[in-house]
């Protein structure tokens, strides 16, 4: 059966790099597949919609209509990869809802591969919600993002039990550079001829991590 990946990038904390990871993942999928559908449930923070307006639509899960509009799309096995930038304010509501409506079970039945990319942090809220994610999400579908810029090499060991994907910290000047709304990771890869630059290598390394993640999904599905 055809598998449709759904990447849910989340954290109960603000400003931990959710939108950065969502941008990277969306651009990677766009480069690889030529198409991707992104959903922004992150309107209270720097938003994916601001960076990738052509492929991103806003979604709200405050009410049932919003939940239907989002989840009824995510559960369709159309082969189109989807990326969700899930804001910290919507974290608990989202996972309470997915648990209640049996999203993971129905997704497995329909050939959808949800992957939760949880951005780890050293705070108590992250430590509290992680066991909930582990209860709800199969280990193969739960990936901790070790964002060096956030945890500075001190990712709590509890988060490191499953699959971990590391994102190296960028120097401040490069961070400022990639944070510009007009910046595109893929455009940079294609236009910058010097592949030895730190940013070039950083993007390639992250794309490679995503490719490995995708391969592991394919292997699980086969």
């Amino acid at each position: 059966m055809r598998q449709t990946p759904v990447y849910i990038i989340c954290s109960p904390r603000p400003l931990v790099g959710k939108t950065l990871v969502a941008r990277l993942m969306s651009e990677f999928l766009l480069l690889k597949n030529g198409t991707v559908s992104a959903f922004d449930i992150n309107l209270k923070e720097p938003s994916l919609l601001d960076y990738l307006p052509r492929i991103t639509e806003t979604a709200e899960i405050d009410d049932t209509v919003g939940k239907m509009a989002l989840m009824d799309r995510l559960i369709i096995n159309d082969g189109l990869a989807k990326v969700i930038d899930l804001g910290f304010h919507a974290f608990e509501e989202f996972f309470e809802m997915t648990e209640e409506i049996g999203f993971m079970k129905e997704a497995a039945r329909r050939g959808i591969s949800p992957v939760v990319l949880f951005i780890g942090d050293t705070d108590r809220v992250s430590a509290r919600v992680y066991p909930m994610l582990r209860r709800q999400i199969p280990p193969t579908a739960l990936v901790t993002i070790d964002n060096e810029h956030v945890v500075r090499g001190e990712l709590p060991t509890a988060f490191a039990m499953g699959k971990v994907l590391r994102i190296a910290a960028l120097p401040v000047f490069l961070k400022t550079y990639v944070d510009r709304l007009s910046f595109s990771f893929t455009d940079y890869l294609q236009q910058e001829r010097d592949s030895s630059t730190e940013l070039h290598q950083w993007i390639r390394r992250n794309y490679l991590s995503f490719r490995e993640l995708e391969l592991s999904l394919i292997l699980q599905g086969s």
Partner: protein, 251 residues
């Protein structure tokens, strides 16, 4: 042949969810392969009939002919379980009629299994209803159903007062029907199908439907909670059908 069982679902007050509870009971028996027939006393146009047309008949319980239709056939027809959705205001008169025709005595002597699901409303009037109904309950299994489906701020009366009424009835059991998401409830209403078919994404004649996955999820979750209450009171044992079988709706 199994002993006939009659389950009366009713309340004297309207709009407390009698038909909703009747529907969950019919779905529960359907999922547990318990052959059931139902009578809808909202004559001439019944709501229960709309959701379960194949097994439901509309009757006017105030007429002798329809009383005969229900109670004279208890031993004659193959489904041994009969569910009666009693329309608003008719519970006490219906129980009085059952007493008058000797049905309650038959239940008391063990010839018939008789259960009453008394759906409670939010007002203090519901407490008076308990006192009124209690006098008919000798020989019956009496379930007081707190139905939260439509309103989270439901029971406004004092718990101690409620307890004093509740304990007047020997062996009364309390049941709780949790709240269902409003939009999910509305969509099942619009679809006019049993909850079980809504969850399975099917129409009334088992044709494929296109209900929202989210709403189906809410209904499935809610129905599982309602059924766990029915499991708790051993409803299938009560009607003489043994343990609950594997159920489609909980997949």
């Amino acid at each position: 042949m199994a002993k006939p069982a009659v389950i009366v679902v009713g309340a004297d007050k309207g709009g407390v969810g009698k038909t909703t509870v009747s529907r969950t009971v019919l779905d529960y028996f359907s999922a547990n392969n318990v052959p059931t027939r139902a009578f809808d006393t909202e004559s001439p146009r019944g709501t229960l009939k709309r959701f379960h047309p194949d097994i439901t008949e509309i009757v006017d319980m105030t007429t002798t002919s329809d009383q005969m239709k229900i109670f004279d056939t208890l031993n004659a027809v193959s489904p041994s379980v009969t569910v009666i959705d009693v329309r608003a205001g008719l519970l006490s008169p219906a129980l009085a009629s059952l007493r008058d025709i000797g049905f309650l005595d038959a239940a008391k002597s063990g010839q018939i299994t008789f259960a009453v699901f008394h759906i409670l409303g939010p007002s203090i009037a519901s407490l008076d209803e308990i006192a009124e109904t209690a006098s008919f309950m000798i020989g019956a299994k009496y379930f007081l159903v707190k139905n939260f489906i439509n309103d989270t701020q439901f029971f406004q009366w004092d718990q101690a007062t409620y307890n004093s009424y509740f304990h007047r009835i020997k062996d009364a059991t309390e049941l709780t029907i949790p709240k269902l998401n409003e939009m999910a409830y509305e969509q099942v209403e619009v679809a006019s199908v049993p909850f079980l078919k809504f969850v399975a994404n099917k129409g009334l004649s088992d044709e494929a439907a296109n209900y929202s996955f989210v709403l189906r999820g809410y209904v499935r979750h809610w129905l599982a909670n309602v059924w766990s209450e029915f499991d708790r009171i051993k409803l299938t044992d009560l009607v003489g059908s043994g343990k609950p079988a594997t159920r489609g709706g909980e997949k």
